[in-house]
Every structure is written in C-alpha cells, then in structure tokens.
C-alpha cells in the first residue's frame, strides 16, 4: 500500500452487521477469490452481543415471574446463548472443515471458519430480533412448557434463515462467476469429445460432433448443476453434524429459561437428551 493511500476506515459493529445481513461478504464475486474479507474477531464480538441480547429476553421469564435470583438467571442466559453457538462451532468445526475439504470447497481453514461465523451471526440476529416478542410472552405467560417450546421455535426460525444464507453462499462458491456469466462458446471436455469413452456415441443415441463446441449455456448449466449438487451434499452433512452437536450442547448448557419450580442453578445434572425433552414438553402442554 502506498503512503498516500488513506487507510480504509474500520466498519462499525452496526455497519458490519448490516453488511452481513445484506450478504455483502458472501457475494459470488467476492467468494470466487476464496477469501471472505471480514475480521473473525468482529464476528465473534457480534455473536456475543446478539446472543446476550436474546439471553436477556430469555431471562425476562425469571424476572417477571418473581424468581428469587432472577438477575442471576438473566446473566446466566445472556452468557449461555452466545456460548452455545461458539462452543458448538469449536466442537464441530474440525469435522465440518474435513467434510468441506472432502467436497473440495475452495475455501481454506480460516475462510471456512468465517463462513460458519457469518451463518451464526445471521442466526443470532434473527433470534435477537424476535427477543421482544419472546420477552412479551415471558411477561404475560406463566406456562413454562409454552415458553420452552416458543424458545425452540425461535431458534428454529433463526436456524432456517442462517441455513438459507449458508446454502446460498456454498452454492455460489461451487458455481464461480466465470461459469455463471460465460458467454463465449466453450470447447467440450476431452472425455466427451472422445467417441470411445462417451455414452452419447452408442447406437441408440446420436453422437455429439466432436468438432462442434458446446454452447456456453450448456456448460454453464452443467457447472451450475454440479455446483448445486456439491453444495447440497455438503449442506446435508454440515446440518447433521452441527445440528446434533448444537442440540446436545444446548441440552448440556441448560437451563436457559430457569424453571419456576426449581432454585437457580448454572447447570443441570446431565440426563436425557434434547429430542426426548421436546417430546415430553409437548406432552406436558396437554397434561400439565
């Protein structure tokens, strides 16, 4: 950088959040370079703040319910929500990266981490934006099972939008802009041009003339389709790994809400698992 060039101003937290939500860091052209130009520390800070925001609205249940150590529960929830996301990432990231590398995701370790953090920030922003709705229900409802299920629903909505952003980004990474925007005719791959190795040369199907180049649209469609398929496979594996670890991490870190019948505790005894707990909570709604 020359001495005359003024340094680029550091974006504010809100500016960065706005750019994350608008997909400014995950545009196809940006991803094509294999680099996501966003500071990891900034994303972690945003995650901590947004998670704490939603954690406070979770703590409102204890506060409005008049629990003896409501402020402590609020503090615990504000700490645990961001921790839930970040610890899940710490535990699952090595395997997520290995799967990404196996699928030939053209991002290195650091940039894959940034991509994950971007999805987490979107997830946390959505749940933080639903925080006022949750706090209102916490203030006007005494039913513990209802709020537990509402919390699960809020996390699920945030998760869906986070996944949507991640899916769009991975699809764009696997489909570089050169493939998406090719207009000039492209020569067919050697394997296709070779009549001995091509299924198109069988007697049932007419042979593709080797000399005729494929139209650009066919190449583009093929690369796009291949990219979408790779992205779909990778997303499937990522969802399973991250979802299982996240659900169990949430179970280990509970209580997030604080049961009105139990004294405050930072962590509960380890028993059962997330899925069994959700099913039993639905049952309790009907048979309190």
């Amino acid at each position: 950088m020359s001495a005359n060039t003024p340094p680029e101003p550091r974006p504010s937290m809100l500016g960065m959040l706005d750019r994350v939500l608008r997909g400014g860091f995950t545009q196809r052209e940006v991803l094509a370079g294999g680099r996501i130009e966003v500071p990891v520390a900034g994303l972690v800070r945003l995650s901590l703040l947004l998670g704490a925001g939603y954690g406070i609205s979770l703590g409102c249940y204890s506060l409005f319910g008049g629990a003896p150590q409501a402020w402590l529960q609020m503090l615990a929830s504000a700490l645990k929500v961001p921790l839930l996301f970040l610890l899940t990432l710490v535990v699952s990231f090595p395997s997520l990266y290995v799967f990404a590398a196996l699928q030939r995701l053209p991002l290195d370790f650091r940039n894959t981490l940034k991509l994950m953090l971007l999805a987490i920030v979107v997830h946390l922003t959505v749940i933080a934006s639903l925080g006022p709705v949750f706090a209102f229900f916490a203030a006007s409802t005494t039913s513990y099972p209802f709020l537990l299920l509402l919390n699960v629903a809020v996390f699920a909505i945030g998760g869906l939008l986070g996944l949507m952003v991640l899916r769009r980004a991975t699809r764009d990474i696997f489909t570089p802009p050169s493939a998406a925007k090719t207009t000039a005719p492209v020569a067919p791959p050697a394997a296709v041009a070779n009549p001995e190795t091509t299924p198109e040369t069988s007697p049932e199907t007419p042979a593709t003339p080797a000399a005729t180049p494929w139209p650009a649209t066919v190449t583009t469609a093929r690369i796009s389709h291949q990219g979408a398929e790779q992205a779909r496979r990778l997303m499937g594996v990522w969802c399973c790994v991250y979802g299982v670890v996240g659900a169990q991490m949430g179970w280990l870190l509970r209580p997030f809400l604080g049961s009105p019948d139990a004294p405050f505790e930072w962590f509960r005894q380890r028993d059962g698992n997330f899925l069994v707990a959700v099913l039993s909570t639905i049952g309790k709604l009907f048979h309190p």
Partner: protein, 212 residues
Amino acid sequence: MIFAAAENLLRGEITATPRPRTCVLLGASGCALAGLALGASSGEWRLAVYAAIKVPLLIVLTAALCMPSFYVVNTVLGLRDDFALACRGLLAAQATLGVMLGALAPMLIFLSLGTNDPYAVTLLDALQFGAATWAAQQVLARHYRPLILHNPRHRLALRGWLVLFAFTGMQLAWVLRPFRGTEGFGVQFLRAEAFQQNAYIVLLEHFARLWR
C-alpha cells in the same frame, strides 16, 4: 378531509395512499371508535374509554413487537431496498383495519343491543375483526403485488409477518382484556390475571374439554 383520505385508502391505487401521518390518524380513530363501541355495550362509560385506548394500543404494540424481526428478515432475504415500500403497505393495511373496525362499530352496537348470549356476542366480535382483517388483506395485497412481481421473496417475508403478527396479537389481545366487560367483574383497565395466562393454552384447554 379525513373522509377523503379514508376513501383514497380504500379505493385508491398505491400512489393515492394517504401520507403515513394520515394513515396513523385514520387507523387510530377507527380502532378507538371500535373500542368505544365494545366498551359501551357494557353500559359502563369508564370501560368504553378504556377499550377506546386499548384497541389502538393492541395494533400499535403488536406491530412494534414484530417490526424488529420483520426488518431483519427483509434484510436477510435481500429485500432491504424495498423495505420502505413494504412498511408503507403494512401501514396502509393497519389503517384499513382501523377504518373497517370503526365502520362496523355502529352495526356492532345495534346487534349487541338485541343479544344477551355471551357466546353470540363473542361470535359477533370475531366476525367484526374477521371482516376488518379481510379488508386489510385486500389493501396489503394491492401494495405487495408489485413488490412480489419485483422479487418473489417478498411473499415469504409477508407470510412471516402475518404469522408473527397474528401469533403475538392474539396473546396481546388476551392480556389487554376486558374490552367488553363481563358481569361479575368490576371495571378495570386490565384483569388481575392479565399477565398470568396464555391465550394459546386457554384455547388448547377449551379444545381438550370439547374432545372429552
């Protein structure tokens, strides 16, 4: 002047929609009128005043609670450039809801006078709010049509808004009871158990009783 604005809101095209301040005024006056009619049916003037405050409050607070997530969802879906237009559509729809509630208020009073059955009265209230919601949907659809044509993701954002608005609004309406007043209960702004009950659990219990 206010009637002309209401006419423009109901009949007009998007470009003829009144200014935001006028929309707020129209919606609030209509909701207040409907609240007045609901509360007055009890014969208690204080309840009429309370309800005239609470019905506009219900709409405004519900919108305020849902707006942050609507903003985030629009941004994530890449619809931020149209956010002002989307909000204008929502405001026009809320104003229409108020205008329609206000317009139905005289009929509601008339019908309530000849009805003593509390279930029939509840049904009348439901019909009034149902009709007003339908009218609001018409205006909202008119505003959203070009947006959806421009970007089909607007449909998803709109559905999300409607679900969240209805979900939150129902609980807030439950909290803000009584609107009509019930025999045996004193005149009060909010019931003592306002923040104790959940509308959805009460509804589930009613259905469970029917099932048994």
